[in-house]
């Protein structure tokens, strides 16, 4: 299980990295933390001609709160969500999910943006980024564009990023007041990819009544699937019943696959149960913040 031959280059600056990607096109592959790419190299399922290591580009290894968003650079490691209190406070949903991403020794290296670019449909961060309405900055020598998660994920392990583009930062919009989040998943074992993962953002009004809830589900399609309470369960009524209605309508819109770990029916059951539980928890937290 040794990687196939390739050439390697570690640019010091973003401009250099973009120039390398422009030069080598589809021969090039970006490596940051490498926690998804290295196993694929070991299995010889990835065969880059040139590996462009962006790990040495200092400007990409920072996160910062901005006026209306939190900006996370491309090489910010997942472990920082669990180890830096301010970062966790800025991205509480991602921090809650981070405990489920692999294990300490993979979170040491694995990056937040890298997980999004890997686009595993059962991964934790893609559903979080989706439910939070986050956007990625994609840059190339030709310029820069912002892309929303819904337009970024294309299929399982595939995104719409261009071959000369680099995802340089994640922008997570500031979450309004009276917003609560929750992340839940069922995996075969702790740290495994989820069978079903659900991320939720919920808002309550000043009186504490449920206003809106958005859920994004992983493991039930080729990419995260996002649903809004206001669209699927617009009526009023008692909150528990409304959440249950929402969960039921979410499941009605899913067509999950079966694999060796779970049947489609089990994924549906989990999707409904976890959606209900995640919304309830997120609403409770929104109320706590009210």
């Amino acid at each position: 299980m040794k990687p196939p031959p390739f050439a390697y280059v570690a640019p010091d600056t973003l401009e250099e990295a973009l120039a390398l990607l422009a030069e080598h096109g589809d021969e090039a592959r970006v490596i940051a933390g490498g926690q998804s790419l290295m196993p694929m190299l070991a299995l010889r399922m990835a065969r880059p001609g040139v590996l462009v290591d962006i790990g040495g580009i200092e400007e990409l290894d920072t996160w910062q709160p901005e006026a209306d968003s939190v900006v996370v650079g491309a090489t910010v490691r997942q472990r920082r969500l669990l180890e830096e209190r301010e970062f966790a406070a800025a991205l509480p949903l991602c921090a809650e999910a981070a405990a489920h991403i692999g294990h300490p020794a993979t979170r040491s290296r694995g990056t937040i943006v890298g997980s999004l670019c890997h686009a595993d449909p059962a991964a934790e961060l893609p559903v979080c980024a989706s439910v939070l309405g986050a956007e990625l900055t994609l840059r190339s020598t030709n310029g820069s564009r912002q892309v929303a998660m819904a337009d970024f994920f294309d299929a399982a392990l595939a995104t719409t990023i261009g071959e000369t583009e680099l995802a340089t930062a994640l922008h997570v919009p500031a979450q309004g007041p009276r917003t609560g989040h929750a992340f839940l998943e069922v995996a075969r074992r702790h740290g495994d990819f989820a069978i079903v993962a659900v991320a939720c953002a919920a808002q309550v009004d000043e009186a504490g009544a449920l206003q809106e809830a958005t859920v994004s589900l992983g493991g039930v399609g080729d990419a995260p699937l996002t649903f809004r309470l206001s669209e699927l369960a617009p009526g009023g009524g008692p909150e528990p019943a409304r959440i249950a209605d929402f969960a039921e309508s979410v499941v009605g819109r899913l067509d999950p696959n079966a694999d060796i770990h779970a049947t489609a029916a089990y994924r549906r059951t989990l999707a409904e149960t976890l959606t209900g539980r995640a919304v309830t928890r997120a609403v409770g937290r929104a109320r706590d913040r009210n």
Partner: protein, 772 residues
């Protein structure tokens, strides 16, 4: 005295904790070259191979196909002949024109590094003319099925029949009959160290030196010598530290022969380290069996008889003959009285990885089917499951207990000693059985689902024919023990030093135990089937008694005192009535070896303080155990939590309870995996879908409950120290316990757990189909 039975920390540990262990991948020779194997990607196909591109790659030294092998090294002969399987299919060392399972070795690429060898392996072109593959053992057993081995009449490798009493009569008179179809799926050993071999022809000594990870180095020595046309003593098999065995390293694989043959062909040291991807598709598997069994009971719940049949999937070959299904068949009655018993088994070839013992070796299946039937009977008869078991367990005063049929070793199967009713009582006490039942009731009222499971098992351990031990007192008065059974982590160096140190009244640190080298002792069988502790341990005791006698006789001659009036004390021999009359062990050794050029002082003794002793048990000794668990099931998500797990074991007298604790805990972890996680998935074409650790799942820290362990000893009468084996007892009952507990949690429904392993998703499917 006094080290026997002590929780002695291990002599092995300091090196392993500081990175100074020496595993096969740590062995390096100058000029060593590396092998990567091209393995079959088809389950059944005719193949043609083109190696020209691989040969042309810079860094590739040789590309070896079946045709390149010497005639004696083209087929791996049966290494474990067994009368129950007269004509086993023997695998080609490299596939020759035909492949029979995904993962079968076809071509060996030899290169300057493993990286380059893998590059070369990718350039080997194998053309597959695929044929229909037989993956499902029931389909393979059917008449007219496509044949795994074209020259054979059918896919049935052999049939096993076992009977005692009159089952027909028992069933005719039964008040109740329970029956079920029960399935155990395929799993794997997955030691953290994969297999590996380093072979080097030593021209000076004219011998083939082979480092490998074998549990049976003397068997490998024989196979390698035969393939190379050498005398056995011109082959030396060495094991350094070995990273776990779990049974499947106790078999001979084609690579065990192939790598030394390549080393001889190239006259260079050759290393092959199996990588995990290879291991997952090519190291031997175990467990697939499908049982159709029924149990007859009287109105009081006493078992009158059992009968039925099962299919055992042996894969494409039979590396250890029919030993796994034989062990299942003889172990089905377990520690219960089953006066009338008849079981038949078809051993079936399929186009899958060959099947051989993995820790537990046929017994987890036996325990699972017996205990699942007991749970079913308890429910049908409305008897508490613990009570039903108690009624049927062999009572203490009926040991030794004859079962009425023969064991794996051909002897009349007789449980030498035991007291399983006491183990059950203790297990239920540790679990807090009555309180747990109450908790279960009250939890149910609150919507929580708790369940209790239990299982009782026996394990045939310490089987023959023998082990040999050499023991010597060194010039400094320390003792060296040399043996043939290698360790894969069991702590033999520690346990056997405890036995020897006691015999000589030496501190633990003054005994050194050496193994892992076929030149240490002349003969040995190997480490498997929970036998080394019992058989080698007894041989250590035997050698120690002989050497002690020699020392005392010799010292008696020197001190002019009858040996009976002497004792070994503090590193010397002294008169029991006059400690001042004393001679130290170094002095004894020095005297026994004399001086160069002079006659020996005591010629009649011959030189040195070294003896070779052995132990040959009359038959197996039987370890027993009872495990019980309390679990909780989240009905909405089907997630299972093990709230409490207890294991009460009878391993006879314990040499070192710290080590046996470790054996139990590791065994339970495998058993938890066998219940929930560990499953080799084949698709209908014979492709393995569990080719990485992302899909072949094993128990982690988060899945393991804290296990409470206790022991009750009924010492074996079959060996001098009263020992029984401890290697597999931890694993055997676990699937039965946990399946029973989960099923219990979900009562009252028609849900039955008939199949292990089962995932949360499997449980969900069963629950969806079960009636309330």
């Amino acid at each position: 005295m006094g080290l026997f039975g002590k929780r002695q920390t291990r002599a092995e540990d300091d090196a392993l904790l500081t990175g100074r262990g020496r595993y096969v991948d740590d062995i390096r020779y100058p000029g060593m070259v590396h092998v990567a194997l091209v393995r079959s990607q088809a389950a059944r196909a005719r193949i043609t191979v083109d190696v020209s591109e691989a040969q042309a790659l810079p860094g590739v030294i040789a590309v070896v196909t079946a045709a390149d092998l010497p005639p004696d090294a083209r087929v791996l002969p049966d290494c474990h002949p067994n009368p129950a399987l007269p004509d086993p299919a023997e695998p080609p060392v490299l596939a020759d024109g035909e492949v029979r399972y995904v993962g079968e070795p076809i071509v060996a690429v030899v290169a300057e590094s493993r990286y380059l060898a893998e590059d070369g392996a990718e350039l080997v072109e194998v053309d597959y003319d695929t044929q229909p593959a037989m993956i499902d053992p029931e389909a393979a057993a059917a008449s007219g099925a496509e044949k795994v081995h074209g020259t054979r009449e059918s896919n049935i490798a052999t049939e096993i029949r076992l009977a005692t009493g009159d089952p027909e009569k028992a069933f005719a008179s039964a008040a109740h009959v329970v029956s079920d179809r029960l399935t155990i799926q395929r799993g794997a050993g997955q030691a953290m160290e994969t297999r590996g071999i380093v072979a080097n022809w030593d021209g000076l000594q004219e011998k083939m030196v082979v480092w490998n990870v074998s549990q049976v180095p003397y068997v490998h020595r024989h196979a390698i010598a035969r393939a190379l046309g050498l005398d056995e003593n011109s082959v030396q098999v060495l094991n350094g530290d070995v990273g776990g065995g779990f049974g499947y390293k106790g078999l001979t694989y084609v690579e065990d022969v192939l790598i030394p043959v390549i080393a001889r062909m190239l006259d260079r040291p050759v290393k092959w380290i199996e990588d995990r991807a290879e291991h997952l598709i090519a190291a031997y598997h175990e467990r697939t069996q499908i049982h159709d069994l029924e149990m007859a009971l009287d109105a009081e719940g006493l078992i009158l008889g059992m009968r039925g049949r099962f299919i055992h999937d042996t894969g494409a070959y039979v590396p250890w003959g029919p030993v796994v299904p034989l062990l299942t068949a003889v172990n089905i009655p377990g520690p219960y009285k089953v006066p009338n018993f008849a079981v038949e088994c078809d051993v079936v070839y399929t186009n899958t990885v060959p099947v051989a013992p993995v820790r537990g070796a046929g017994r987890p299946q036996a325990c699972f089917v017996m205990e699942r039937l007991l749970d079913l009977a308890a429910r049908m008869l409305d008897i508490d499951p613990a009570d039903l078991r108690r009624r049927n367990l062999i009572p203490e005063d009926e040991y030794p207990y004859k079962l009425g049929f023969v064991s794996r070793d051909g002897t009349s199967r007789t449980y030498d000693s035991g007291n399983v009713p006491a183990l059950l009582d203790r297990a239920l006490e540790l679990l807090g059985y009555d309180a747990a039942r109450q908790e279960q009731e009250s939890a149910r009222a609150g919507g929580r689902r708790l369940g209790i499971g239990m299982a009782c098992c026996v394990e045939d351990t310490g089987l023959g024919p023998f082990e040999e031990v050499n023991m010597a007192i060194e010039a400094d008065g320390s003792v060296t023990v040399r043996m043939g059974t290698p360790s894969q982590g069991q702590g033999q160096k520690t346990a056997f030093a405890q036995i020897a140190a006691d015999a000589f009244d030496l501190p633990f640190e003054r005994v050194r135990v050496l193994a892992g080298n076929t030149e240490q002792v002349r003969y040995s069988i190997g480490t498997f089937a929970s036998r080394a502790g019992v058989v080698t341990g007894s041989a250590v005791q035997e050698a120690a008694l002989q050497l002690k006698d020699r020392v005392l006789q010799f010292a008696g001659a020197l001190l002019q005192t009858p040996a009976g009036d002497l004792e070994l004390k503090d590193g010397g021999v002294q008169r029991t009535d006059d400690p001042s009359s004393r001679i130290s062990l170094p002095e004894i050794v020095e005297t026994s070896l004399g001086e160069s050029g002079s006659p020996l002082a005591l010629r009649e003794f011959g030189p040195g303080m070294s003896v070779t002793g052995s132990f040959s048990p009359a038959t197996n000794t039987f370890a027993t155990g009872v495990h019980a668990a309390l679990v909780e099931v989240d009905e909405a998500t089907c997630q299972i939590s093990i709230l409490k797990y207890v294991a009460v074991e009878d391993f006879g007298n314990l040499i070192n309870p710290l080590i046996t604790d470790g054996q139990v805990l590791g065994g339970v972890a495998l058993g938890v995996g066998n219940t929930f996680f560990e499953k080799v998935h084949y698709d209908p074409d014979g492709q393995i879908l569990t080719g990485t650790f992302a899909d072949y799942l094993m128990t982690t820290t988060m899945d393991m409950p804290r296990v409470e362990i206790d022991y009750i000893a009924t010492p074996s009468p079959l060996n001098p120290l009263g020992l029984k084996g401890a290697g597999q007892g931890g694993t055997i009952p676990v699937p039965a316990v946990l399946a029973g507990a989960v099923e219990d949690a979900l009562q009252p429904t028609t849900l039955r757990l008939r199949d292990v392993p089962f995932s949360e998703s499997d449980l969900h499917q069963l629950l969806s189909g079960a009636a309330a």
